[in-house]
Symmetry: C2
Subunit: 258 residues, 2 copies
Amino acid sequence: MKFKIAIIGTGNVAWHLAPALEEAGHTITEVYGRSPKAVASITNRLYTADDKRDLDFSASKAEIFILAVSDDAIGYIADEVILPDESILVHTSGSVHLDVLGYSSASYTGIFYPLQTFSKDRNIAFEEVPFLLESEDQATLQKLKKLAKTLSHLQYTIKSKDRLALHVAAVFASNFSNHMLRLSEDIMARQGLEFEILKPLIIETISKSLELGARNAQTGPAVREDLNTLDLHHQFLNYNEQMAEIYRLISQDIIDCN
Amino acid sequence: MKFKIAIIGTGNVAWHLAPALEEAGHTITEVYGRSPKAVASITNRLYTADDKRDLDFSASKAEIFILAVSDDAIGYIADEVILPDESILVHTSGSVHLDVLGYSSASYTGIFYPLQTFSKDRNIAFEEVPFLLESEDQATLQKLKKLAKTLSHLQYTIKSKDRLALHVAAVFASNFSNHMLRLSEDIMARQGLEFEILKPLIIETISKSLELGARNAQTGPAVREDLNTLDLHHQFLNYNEQMAEIYRLISQDIIDCN
């Protein structure tokens, strides 16, 4: 089943999703954004899509409208956008409730949330991206499943409440893990040491964690309650109060979790 | 160059290191530990090593003595152990200064620190483990390099001060990243959701971070300063005060780092 789809937004998700949808055989009719440059940067990656600068889509041939904008803007744009009859409006956010689309001119609404981290300078293998889908209308939900299936072999139907929990869990697993690597990079750089030295450790840590479960995989001074080492590390970090506090709080939580 | 080596300690490092050293052609003469069961659990993995219950190694044929015990115990055991003439005593810790071996009966001292996370129920590919080496005696350092080379293609000579910094960085990159996955597991389990859903995200996050650098790879609500979502997530975590505080502190640090 092939769809005509309009993309509203020009961020990282739109950047990756629009060409992937085209690649899967769908037609991207328009890409909307406030910045002509940002819109062109995406339509230049597509065969047929029109650049669109206003939110009047009444003449659009699209059936599905994908809102891929920042969480804060979803409600605002949903209220403003003018859509043709029988159109489906979905957003791609992990946190925003389906209800926020309730006042839009769409006939049907839904969620089409790709659970992945998107950066412009990194390709995404969409076949492995879980799509989390929601709609109160069964026919719409079926269409979203069919659409997701053309991109990925992983689809889940999930309620807004569970999607929020899942997004919080994803922030810990992804954004916060990445920030731990960021702080590690900073410590190494400050000391003039190559971050490269740590890569085998990081790869083994994550592989082990995914295989045994993080609870069973934990090692290090906190889980051993090696208080001398914890104290030595905390002292080492006295050049940065916030990092020292992160060290203390996470170490305490590792101790308390065991 | 093949060595005769005694292992002092029966933890995760000894468990993995002793068979790997034997596999590389060295002879393990003795394994020391306080618990007969723990000692046997390691010597049963070896061809020739004797079980040892006391610290009098004066009759040992070993040339290198590897102290693989908890950080807190290193100084105590180094002071107590009786070693033959011309013996080298090394410890395997990331945090403990070389000086702590200074009062031992060893002729030479050093550090032989494998930078990896060791759990008993997970095999280690030692070829990929960076060995961080230190000694004030050049001949000893050369021997430690030769020993490390028989196990791994990664060896680094590193001063105690840098080793401490590196160990703090390793705790962030490994133990703390793993704890972020642990908290993520807990959120999913509490909601009755399969952790499996998050695995593609985690694999992509770490792959991307190692390729682009964590600073460039960051995504999510904190780096976007999406305050509504941060607030929603913080509220969601109100069932666990410590987790809510971790969420707040790390999100703040992501914002401050950018």
